[in-house]
Symmetry: C2
């Protein structure tokens, strides 16, 4: 099969179809999404070597006895060991020995096939298209903000960053009823938030008010500073993105206003699929372009362009855009 | 009266006795404590001009009709406006117009007399000595960790920093029943924690385990990094101290383990006095030296010495050490 393989260099290469281990299924990938983390991996983050990619929708192609056979699925990306103290304490997501699809000791989704434990799968409701289902993983990550900061619906929230993740986070906050604001750099991205009743701001025009909850989803050096400047005393800042290197932090901005800064990573797939199935949230306007897997290298180049939102890779032969 | 006055330069000078405004009382200062924040003020923090000092115990000397007259008191240091939206939202501690004793638009405690709103006062139980009562403000600040991070008594806590605040924080965590650890640089400071059943570590010998709760009370550049390295996934780091300038923060240390970083400042005076009155906590072994107010400049010099803990200033004439 074809796959985008990284070992310091990224190349599209012909590889043997993977064999599912006990407990695993074989998934034929239909669509995969490029995430900023994939670009970090290409810079050496995680020291990963293998097939990259972790956002996907596919159909289960084996083993023949799998109850999922033939079904359309998405899959959680963390594969914990299941036996260590963290796994037993309910912190499986933080298992030190975990493998992570396309990120850590586990070949990923930019390929014709992948394998994953059956326990990681979620069936995709028929009403959810492939183009929407491929957003399940980032949408779940956006929803994890609600787990990190259970702000009430009467509160005011600001999302910093109008990229893929910032937009999805703002949609989910609006669905919770919060008075949601989004600040970014691209008018055409901000426009995507308007159907959700979100108040949008170009950064230089942001109102001087403060917010109960600020979500930093820009992945930029200035994002954390802006978040800390705009959160109210005793408010919450949720950090959704990592940036390479260090951010200079003025601790007085945390200590004096007694602010809470919470890191947030992966989230609940089932909740994301419920929102997609209801149609309360449609991520498809975020798709900038779909590339066939055979043009995967071009796709990873294209996604770095200014103002590009979601870029998808279609592994099947019939999906060239 | 004599007072330590700062206007860019610090000097001991003769000043008129302050007149209480309506709602205020006049307090004759008995003992005052030097805090790291006072040293920051002398470096220009807060742009403060006036009499410095905010930790004190004294007796109420006026007005004659005050129900507190003649009583021994300690006093909360924040004086909120009481009418702004933050004050009305229960965030008076974060009132933008607040004055703060010895720190912001309000003359402080390194003087023979100070004034403070009667609403800020707490009567000191007779059983609590001046030498213990003068620790009420920093002990309350230590107790605010419990408000910021309500960790259960079955959890493991690490306090980073064996200075005045770190020691007090470790004592209060031990009293909550937590398996409490303290890491620092001075064996003779760490020894002060042993009566509380606290496990103490020199930094280079700290066990590699992780902790549910880590309190950064070192005020050092490396303190936050150590805290983030030692907190468990989804654990809490409480930041108690500011440092001048910026700390380089690796956001991956917050985002990936989904850690919570909470700033914490002032705390509950009444709770601090209850602990002191019970004798469950005795801060007096932290006293390094008592200086008379007439030697206040020497006291502020002495406190900067290596391994010095609490330095007190006795305003009364009979307390020279």
């Amino acid at each position: 099969m074809q796959a985008l393989y990284f070992d310091g260099n990224l190349e599209l290469k012909e590889m043997p179809q993977p064999q599912p281990r006990p407990g695993e299924v074989l998934v034929r990938v239909r669509l995969a999404g490029i995430c900023r983390t994939d670009l970090e991996v290409l810079k050496g983050y995680h020291d990963f070597q293998g097939i990259i990619g972790h956002e996907f929708v596919g159909e289960v192609a084996g083993p023949p006895e799998s109850p999922f056979l033939g079904q359309r699925v998405v899959g959680e990306i963390n594969i914990p060991c299941g036996v260590c103290s963290r796994c037993r304490q309910g912190l499986a997501l933080h298992c030190r020995e975990r493998r992570v699809l396309g990120l850590r000791d586990k070949n990923g989704a930019f390929a014709e096939y992948l394998t994953l434990p059956a326990a990681n799968l979620h069936r995709v409701p028929d009403i959810v298209s492939d183009e929407a289902a491929v957003f399940t993983e980032p949408l779940a990550a956006a929803l994890s903000v609600s787990e990190a900061a259970p702000a009430g619906p009467g509160q005011r929230a600001l999302v910093v960053g109008d990229g893929r993740l910032g937009l999805l986070v703002s949609f989910t906050l609006a669905l919770r009823g919060l008075d949601t604001h989004l600040v970014g750099h691209y008018r055409e991205h901000l426009r995507l938030a308007e159907p959700y009743g979100i108040t949008t701001w170009l950064e230089e025009e942001l109102s001087p008010d403060d917010f109960d909850l600020v979500v930093e989803a820009s992945g930029s050096q200035g994002g954390l500073r802006l978040a800390l400047e705009r959160v109210r005393p005793r408010g919450t800042v949720v950090l959704k993105t990592t940036v390479a290197g260090h951010i200079p932090l003025d601790p007085a901005l945390v200590v004096v206003p007694e602010v809470r800064v919470v890191g947030s990573r992966c989230g609940p797939f089932a909740a994301a699929l419920r929102l997609l199935a209801r149609g309360w949230l449609d991520p498809r306007p975020l798709i900038s372009r779909v590339f066939p897997l055979s043009q995967g290298l071009e796709a990873l180049d294209f996604v770095r362009g200014k103002g590009i939102l979601k870029v998808l890779i279609a592994a099947g032969p019939s999906r060239e855009s």
